[in-house]
């Protein structure tokens, strides 16, 4: 019996979408992912309770659910970012450690499509992290104060819609730093042979990059651009701490200071640093994925 010729292979976009679906399917069955996302919520809720208790103790209340949510997000962000980083470290290593990568690489999938699919999956995981953070913090803010306007002595300082808009923008900017950190996790993962190894090496690297904050902020240089001069402190190279820049801007709102523009030099610098790191780690991951003999 002879067989008919095979149909033409799927396009790159379709292949990447299928790989992402496969990644999401296997990750949704893995206990580490369930525990990771669960931990984000579990930390946010007692964190909110403790934060609220602290407010009651010193008789300074947020007055607005949004203001409460902003402060809570700043406190939960570091933990959630670390958990997300560890989970993204599993993206390649879960395939490599179980040997299943050889089946993926013997399907009509190019190595670059495979790498891009990991970035797409990481983007979805980042989005889910931000959604959990957002909903968790806003939910707790609503629970304690409701999601009304920010007022002082019945005088409306900021409307609820303005508060909502700014928290949405800040959350969007957070994605830049988280994406850079995910890129680092994918690079580590692509060189690892075990899941535990990927997480340990990843955390060491994450700690090293974070430790660059100890470089005094006063050391830096100035960049002349578009007729303006901008200051670039070397401590900005700790891109993990760039995560907090949108939150610092956001944190001004509850004190009554309006946010005139999100396009400040701090935010641009955060995007440049995060983008630079993201691209460097993408190149490192691409080298491993293109050259590595994963079947060994």
């Amino acid at each position: 019996m002879s067989q008919s010729p095979s149909p033409p292979p799927a396009s790159a976009a379709t292949t990447i979408a299928r790989l992402v679906r496969a990644d999401l399917m296997k990750l949704s069955h893995h206990w580490v992912i369930a525990i990771g996302y669960g931990a984000m919520l579990i930390v946010a809720i007692p964190g909110a309770v403790l934060f609220h208790m602290g407010e009651q103790l010193i008789n300074v209340t947020s007055e607005s659910g949004y203001a409460f949510a902003f402060s809570l997000m700043v406190r939960c962000l570091d933990f959630s970012a670390s958990i997300l980083f560890m989970m993204v470290c599993l993206l390649f290593s879960i395939d490599i450690a179980n040997g299943a990568i050889k089946y993926i690489l013997t399907r009509p999938v190019t190595r670059m499509e495979l790498l891009l699919s990991k970035y797409a999956t990481a983007a979805i995981m980042t989005g889910l992290t931000l959604a959990i953070l957002w909903l968790g913090c806003l939910g707790m803010g609503w629970y304690y104060y409701g999601l009304g306007p920010l007022t002082e002595n019945d005088y409306v300082i900021f409307e609820a819609s303005a508060m909502f808009r700014h928290i949405a923008i800040a959350t969007g900017f957070l994605a830049f730093s988280l994406a850079a950190s995910a890129s680092m996790a994918i690079a580590v993962s692509s060189y690892s042979s075990t899941m535990g190894g990927a997480i340990i090496v990843g955390l060491v690297l994450y700690g090293f990059v974070s430790s660059l904050t100890v470089i005094p902020a006063t050391i830096g240089f100035e960049i002349a651009w578009g007729g303006e001069t901008y200051y670039f402190p070397w401590s900005s190279l700790a891109f993990t701490s760039q995560l907090f820049i949108p939150m610092y801007l956001l944190d001004d709102l509850p004190t009554g200071i309006p946010i005139e523009s999100w396009w400040t030099w701090d935010v641009v610098r955060m995007m440049l640093v995060s983008g630079g790191y993201g691209l460097i780690f993408f190149a490192i991951a691409a080298r491993a994925v293109r050259k590595r003999d994963f079947a060994l």
Binding site: Q3, S6, Y103, T106
Partner: protein
């Protein structure tokens, strides 16, 4: 237009620094064949298969699958291929059915009926919902074969497919391999160091050792026959008289491995001449034929090793 060869490898070499793992291998597997690829452990079988599948890049040479270059047209070349290489490996936290569905989704072949069919073929239908973590090595091997068959491949590349299976399981897999070729028209490249199982399944085979192909061809061509050595089967009780005649008339000293059976080197004597002498002496000749060799004999002769051969 004739169908292109299922596999066409030319001058395939792979070096890992100073180690030459595979050297100038030429391989042609015609569509519809069951092609055996045999060699002792470390001969270069798996490295060759990994190059055929595009898992590693050859240092030199090229591979075409059904006419498509594996490097330049990877997706087209690999599309019709199913493979089980270097042992089966799956996500242990997923069930067999979920593993098959996951890999099927990657290629867009989502057929519940096909998943059930291949699980049935490899004898795992009843355990398909169990997590792979609880599977024995033999069950994982069966699942690996099911995955290789999932997308109705035109070319199946199987590396040591009966590893970890008991004798009954090995026989079932050999029967399945023949059935797949006959029913689905699949070309099969089978790599193994188990000579007996290759002898019973393959149409053509290649013997590889130290990274080089030593012999390739149809099974009987590769095995060959030892035309110098004859086997004589006599009527009951005639074997002693036959041995005496051979010794006295032709100076041939025959071995007697069993009753009424002699084996001897004929030297420059023609078999017809020996047969005539035996018949004229009234010895009952049941059969006189060149001694057939086994694949193992041919293999040992070519590779000079039997240590890795079972």
């Amino acid at each position: 237009m004739s169908e292109p060869a299922a596999i066409e490898a030319r001058q395939l070499s792979k070096r890992f620094r100073s180690l030459v793992a595979v050297e100038r291998v030429d391989l042609d597997v015609a569509a519809g064949d069951i092609f055996g690829f045999i060699g002792p452990n470390g001969a270069g079988k798996t490295t060759t298969l990994r190059m055929l599948l595009g898992l590693i890049t050859p240092t030199e040479g090229r591979v075409r699958i059904f006419g498509h270059d594996i490097e330049r047209e990877f997706k087209r070349a690999i599309q019709p291929v199913g493979a089980l290489i270097e042992g089966a490996a799956f996500y242990p936290f997923l069930s067999a059915r979920n593993n098959l569905a996951l890999f099927g989704n990657i290629s867009g072949h989502r057929s519940h009926a096909r998943v059930e069919q291949v699980l049935e073929w490899v004898g795992l239908a009843a355990r398909g919902d169990d997590r792979v973590a609880g599977y024995s090595q033999g069950m994982r091997q069966r699942l690996g074969l099911a995955l290789a068959l999932l997308e109705r491949p035109r070319l199946l590349i199987l590396d040591e497919p009966t590893n970890g299976l008991d004798p009954q399981g090995s026989r079932e897999i050999r029967e399945l391999i023949r059935r797949i070729r006959d029913e689905e028209g699949t070309t099969i490249l089978l790599s193994s160091h188990l000579l007996a199982e290759m002898e019973g399944v393959c149409d053509r085979l290649a013997i590889i050792a130290n990274g080089r192909i030593l012999r390739v061809g149809a099974l009987d061509e590769v095995i060959g026959s030892d035309s110098e050595r004859l086997v004589l089967a006599t009527s009951a009780g005639d074997d002693e008289r036959a041995a005496a005649l051979l010794r006295e008339r032709f100076s041939i000293h025959a071995a007697r491995p069993g009753s009424n059976r002699l084996e001897f080197d004929r030297g420059d004597r023609e078999p017809a001449e020996i047969n005539r002498a035996l018949v004229e002496a009234g010895i009952g000749v049941a059969a006189l034929a060149p001694q057939l060799r086994t694949l193992e004999q041919a293999f040992i002769e070519l590779t000079g090793t039997s240590s890795a051969v079972q």
